[in-house]
């Protein structure tokens, strides 16, 4: 089976829907707050009440322009909105204000890196356009009715569509991760898949590697995490390969990912062909962004992940891989830089951030900002190691406790009396006591059994509850034993 699979290449295009952060909806002044009482954030406009008219949110529009520029897109000379007509109860007007043939922007690209050994790969962005979100439908278990909440209807939504440049589920995952990083840097969205502020659909087909002809495309929906996207694509690629291998045809259809059962199933649809009857939205006027304004927005874009990674390599001497990982999240990158300002060994910072800290954050599903460990706390911990106040091993324990309880590492060390005994006189007293009751070991050592020393060090550590500075113990012991 593995060999068969390798004969094939997957061709994937992704369609990301992103809720833009704004105080108000795309075409009316209702709040965009998540999780409010059903239908409490609605007005005649977002309910599509007869007679109501849309007026575009300036903030949402320029956020969209910002994203488009960050994704290296061209901005359309004349931007127009269109109506996409279809009937669905989450769509208050039974059409969605979207963009068809003159979208906000087109022809962009971003770059992904899939692992330390792989190079950059360009993923072209076909278009980025602005539209309105739909409401939410609830289907109570066992009921013969459905419920509609229009709070989400009209929230500004960005559609980001790639060209079919993605050739593996892992690349899809990497693309999403990179896209999310860019969006986070721009601070234009929560990018929270669980809350639905970022959603992803995929188109996938397979073909014999090295051939040009695209296979029949299947659309995948209902993935709720980036990992879900990867799993769904993996499943779907296998399913399609198996079909082709058995000489069967792939049906062009939409399939839903079932995360619990880990499989895709065809979506039930009416057999009526979709015909969205796009036409220019007559209730909105066209939009145009001056070249000078575009350039200004471009200049004012924040430093984006790729540029930041490059800078981290050159400025802090991080490896390309480390720099990429650290800059993969804005919070992490900022945290690193805060540490780097007050601590010179940048490799140490990177190792701790990418190692124990990331492991803890992932396990607890937290971000670095959500734990009460400030960059100066972390650097304080590094300093204690450097000064020999605590051992590296102990530092890890302290770090975990600090992250869990939100207590400063220094305080933990202090409270638990963990600082190493580096007071020579005090240690000499302990050493003398240990030597006095371990004459045999002393004899062994003097006879040349060098590992007797390890035993004696262990006894000193035991007597000091592990707080003795091991290096110092070593020196004192050897001196006492007459080396």
């Amino acid at each position: 089976m593995r060999e068969d699979e390798n004969r094939y290449e997957t061709v994937i295009g992704l369609e990301v829907h992103l809720q833009l952060k704004a105080n108000t909806k795309a075409f009316c002044g209702c709040s965009t707050l998540f999780g409010q009482k059903p239908n409490s954030q609605t007005c005649p406009v977002c309910l599509g009440f007869p007679g109501s008219l849309p007026v575009l949110n300036e903030e949402a529009f320029y956020s969209a322009v910002k994203v488009a520029l960050a994704l290296n897109c061209k901005i359309q000379d004349l931007i127009k909105f269109d109506r996409k007509n279809y009937y669905y109860p989450d769509l208050p007007k039974n059409f969605q204000i979207s963009q068809y043939d003159m979208p906000l922007s087109y022809d962009g690209a971003i770059y992904i890196t899939s692992g330390p050994e792989k190079g950059r790969k360009k993923i072209r962005i076909k278009r980025v356009h602005l539209e309105e979100d739909a409401g939410k439908l609830l289907h109570p278990e066992g009921a013969n009715y459905s419920l509609v909440d229009y709070n989400r209807a009209g929230i500004p939504l960005l559609e980001i569509v790639t060209e079919p440049d993605i050739n593996s589920p892992q690349e899809a995952y990497d693309y999403l991760t990179r896209l999310k990083a860019i969006l986070e840097y721009l601070k234009v969205s929560d990018c929270d898949m669980e809350k639905g502020s970022l959603r992803c659909d995929a188109n996938i087909s397979i073909r014999v590697a090295g051939t040009d002809k695209l296979g029949t495309k299947v659309e995948l929906k209902n993935m709720n995490t980036f990992k879900g996207v990867r799993l769904a694509l993996e499943y779907e690629a296998k399913r399609q390969i198996a079909l082709v291998e058995e000489g069967e045809k792939i049906t062009q259809e939409t399939r839903l990912w079932d995360a619990e059962k880990s499989l895709t199933t065809p979506m039930r649809t009416k057999e009526e062909a979709m015909d969205y009857r796009y036409f220019p939205e007559p209730d909105l006027v066209p939009f145009q962004v001056d070249k000078a304004v575009i350039e200004k927005i471009r200049r004012e874009l924040p430093e984006l992940p790729e540029a930041k990674a490059k800078r981290f390599s050159s400025e802090y001497g991080l490896s390309e891989y480390d720099a990429n990982v650290i800059t993969g999240q804005l919070e992490m990158a900022d945290y690193f830089e805060e540490c780097a300002k007050i601590y010179q060994n940048r490799k140490t910072i990177a190792n701790w951030l990418m190692g124990d800290i990331t492991a803890y954050l992932n396990a607890e599903n937290l971000t670095i900002k959500q734990i009460g460990l400030s960059p100066s706390d972390l650097v304080g911990l590094f300093n204690m190691i450097d000064e020999g106040t605590i051992s590296g091993k102990m530092a890890k324990e302290v770090l975990i406790e600090a992250m869990k309880k939100g207590i400063k590492p220094a305080e933990i060390v202090e409270r638990r009396g963990l600082s190493q005994i580096s007071d020579t006189a005090a240690l000499e007293r302990v050493v003398d006591a240990v030597l006095a009751r371990n004459e045999k070991s002393v004899d062994d050592y003097r006879k040349g059994k060098k590992n007797a020393l390890t035993y004696l060090i262990g006894q000193v550590m035991k007597d000091t509850n592990g707080t003795a500075n091991p290096a110092l113990v070593n020196v004192i012991l050897k001196r006492r034993l007459g080396d």
């Binding site: 239908n39 300036e58 039930r268």
Partner: protein
Amino acid sequence: MPLIDKRIVKHVALLSRLELNDRELELYSSQLASIIGYISKLNEIDTTNVPPTSHAASNLKNVFRKDVLRQSLDIKDVLSNAPARYDNFFKVPQVIEGK
């Protein structure tokens, strides 16, 4: 080829979420055929290189609103016209999943 026939009218009715009985289908097919026959007159005009006008106020551009909150409707007003509701939701006959 007729510009419009019963098959097309049926399809258009489906897209419009309208149900036509046989009599209506017959009537609308013939009426629409004559209307479409008439409006096809537009083909007499050469419109090569003519830009479309989708707005009467064609020089209007960039009409925005500021991202400032406005009072939403009172939930009671949102639902006061609802043919059916449940709690604060609009209630509709079951939706068979799948757009």
